[in-house]
């Protein structure tokens, strides 16, 4: 055995077959050739590389194989639940005859420089099971203020691979609102691929409120054209295992993105937020702003990277991840990264991890506010800046409501060992 093979074997989980076991029956269906070829390519890659394990740097705190071993999942097909401006959305499965060329190109595109053991490993698994796709195509100039609401059904012991393909045409404006609330044992390995064309804006809001039996892996990739904007906000509460992975490519001059979120983590929850922003054009702006509140035995992970390519002069890149850790058994892992090849850029990154400020807590209590309520007020204040950055007002109000619900049930008092 060569040294290289040994090295690779260390990274390979031994239970990729658990995830692939229902693949044969899917591949037996009569999908068109391009779909079959695409599935086969995904399958081959997973057979070779396996599933991501904590031995890989990018998945260090995200132990999917351990979770999977405890499950008895089977691959299942499902139907998207959508509400709102649904006339821009269509579902493709079975014969895939309604998949337009642009969507097919986006689905099958192979990213340059993809690494075998990189962030896209779970996307390849989803490729192998490519079946249920929601295609959202917003024509040029359409200004839609009402969000499209999307839910994935709650199926017990299901392994689901939803795929959402979005194109927001030039100067159009569209908002997608995803709500995930699995109460059963379920693995939702979701792919969402987004193109925001020139001058357009796409607002992408997500609530991950899945139960403690669930695993939710979200693989988001976004192409933002010149003068276009991508605004994402993800609220992760609930429990369970999750990975919110976002790759944004700012491809045209003056493109911008906000990839923000709040993680409210309790019990044995494990939530991984992994963000990469590729600045590929000059004068682009990116902003990553996260607040993490971690209590009980929960674990939070934030790894955010800004990669400024040589051509991306006058980049404005900002990254901040602040965390409050409320118990001795709670953990927060933060890894901010900047990789800069252009010489005229403005980039900053910051990360803090701390407890609730005793001075502020005493001040509030000395005014008659009971301790639990005082803690709750300070936590709301801690996350408020990120909520203020949500441009859709109804969503920001909804987030405030969900936050107060979480605060009323979570244990907020610092538990010493």
């Amino acid at each position: 055995m060569s040294a290289l093979a040994k090295f690779e074997r260390r990274y390979k989980a031994d239970n990729a077959d658990l995830a692939l076991k229902d693949w044969d029956q899917l591949i037996a269906s009569n999908a068109p050739d391009w779909v079959q070829a695409f599935r086969k390519r995904g399958h081959e890659i997973v057979v070779e590389a396996g599933l991501p394990t904590p031995k890989l740097e990018r998945f260090k705190y995200f132990n999917l194989p351990a979770w999977l071993k405890k499950q008895e999942l089977s691959y299942q097909s499902f139907e998207f639940e959508i509400n709102g401006p649904t006339n821009f959305a269509s579902v493709a499965n079975d014969d895939f005859s309604n998949v337009p060329d642009w969507a097919q190109d986006l689905i099958t595109a192979q990213p340059l420089g993809e690494e075998k053991y990189g962030d896209l490993m779970l996307e390849r698994l989803s490729d192998a099971f490519f079946s249920d796709a929601l295609i959202i195509d917003v024509p040029e100039g359409e200004q839609i203020t009402e969000p499209l609401h999307l839910k994935i059904p709650n199926k017990e012991n299901a392994f689901l691979c939803p795929r959402i393909i979005v194109r927001v045409g030039r100067n159009a404006d569209f908002t997608l609102h995803e709500e995930h609330q699995a109460t059963h044992a379920q693995w939702n390995n979701a792919i969402i691929k987004i193109i925001v064309e020139e001058g357009a804006r796409f607002c992408h809001y997500r609530y991950n409120m899945n139960g403690d039996q669930s695993c939710f892996t979200q693989n988001t990739s976004v192409h933002v054209a010149g003068n276009a904007t991508y605004e994402a906000f993800t609220l992760t509460a609930g429990e369970g295992l999750s990975r919110n992975q976002v790759h944004v490519e700012l491809q045209g001059a003056e493109a911008s993105c906000d990839v923000n979120g709040i993680n409210l983590l309790s019990n044995a929850q494990n939530a991984d937020t992994t963000i990469t922003i590729e600045h590929q054009a000059p004068n682009c702006r990116s902003n990553q702003n996260y607040r993490n509140v971690v209590t009980d035995k929960a674990t939070g992970i934030f790894q955010g990277k800004v990669h400024v390519h040589r051509v991306a002069q006058q980049t404005d890149g900002y990254q901040l991840s602040n965390s409050l850790v409320l118990s001795h058994a709670a953990t927060m892992n933060t890894k901010p990264e900047l990789e800069i090849y252009a010489d005229d850029v403005k980039c900053s990154h910051g990360a803090t991890t701390g407890r609730i400020d005793d001075e502020a807590l005493f001040y509030l209590r000395s005014r008659g506010i009971p301790e639990e309520e005082a803690r709750s007020i300070l936590i709301q204040a801690f996350v408020s800046e990120v909520i203020e950055e949500i441009s859709h007002e109804a969503t920001s109000e909804d987030v405030i409501y969900k936050l107060s619900q979480w605060l009323s049930t979570a244990s907020l008092t610092f538990e010493a060992r």
Binding site: L364, R365, S366, R367, Q380
Partner: protein
């Protein structure tokens, strides 16, 4: 009426108060003066219930009720108020939210009806007016970006709204120019009434020109070293605290 008897307190094993006795009758204003490090701020924090200090001996009673076992918020409901020497900045918490939460928590604990947003706004406006405070302070986060004077006025505003039986002013004069000092003192004087006692902690006599005390105490080495009328403050201004610290006057 507040009665402190034989109060001993320490922090991290170091004794700060060692047998302090003090009684303040209803409607009275007492001043505590003393050299730096005598334990003045410790006393203020202990009265408000700060947990960093351990009371090892003695008692504190407000209207014959023991407050030592109470949490800070319970003390506030019982009628204790501390105006902080350094009011804490709390980014992200709006003044109105803060005042509403505090006032309603206290009202609830006292068995009074809670105020709705409109009722609170009215009360806030009228209180600001009464104290000569501009109400645009209310649109900001608690103490964030407030000048020294604004922070102290904000303390007086909170005091006025929470209607304590016993208010402790911890070095309220520190960092204030003469105009700001006058506004704050006027606010305090407007709150003087028969059923409210004050303890004014200060290093300098200046504040007592504006808030006339009934009695002046000197705190040195963790206990009351001397008690007198307002004239004692003037005497201290003249002679300094050398008599109490064993050092020569500068």
């Amino acid at each position: 009426m507040i009665e402190i008897k034989n109060l001993h307190a320490e922090i991290e094993g170091k004794e700060i108060l060692s047998g302090l006795d003090l009684t303040i009758g209803n409607g009275e204003v007492h001043a505590i003066m003393g050299p730096n490090g005598a334990g003045k701020s410790t006393l203020a924090y202990i009265l408000a219930g700060r947990e960093d200090y351990e009371v090892t001996k003695g008692s504190i009673e407000l209207d014959a009720e023991d407050i030592l076992e109470m949490d800070p918020d319970e003390r506030a409901a019982a009628g204790v108020f501390l105006a902080f020497q350094y009011p804490v900045e709390i980014p992200g918490v709006q003044m109105t939210t803060f005042l509403k939460t505090a006032l309603n928590a206290v009202r609830k604990a006292r068995g009074q009806e809670e105020l709705d947003a409109i009722g609170l706004l009215k009360l806030m406006k009228s209180t600001c007016q009464k104290l000569g405070i501009s109400d645009d302070m209310m649109k900001r986060a608690v103490n964030v970006g407030f000048s020294g004077g604004e922070k102290k006025r904000n303390e007086v505003l909170q005091m006025a709204m929470l209607e304590p039986k016993f208010a402790v002013l911890d070095e309220t004069d520190s960092g204030l120019d003469i105009d700001a000092l006058r506004i704050v003192a006027d606010g305090v004087n407007a709150l003087r009434e028969q059923n409210r006692s004050f303890l004014v902690i200060t290093h300098y006599q200046r504040l007592l020109d504006y808030i006339k005390p009934d009695k002046v105490h000197v705190l040195a080495d963790g206990k009351i070293a001397k008690t007198g009328g307002p004239e004692l403050a003037l005497e201290l201004e003249d002679k300094g605290y050398a008599e109490f610290t064993g050092e020569k006057a500068a």
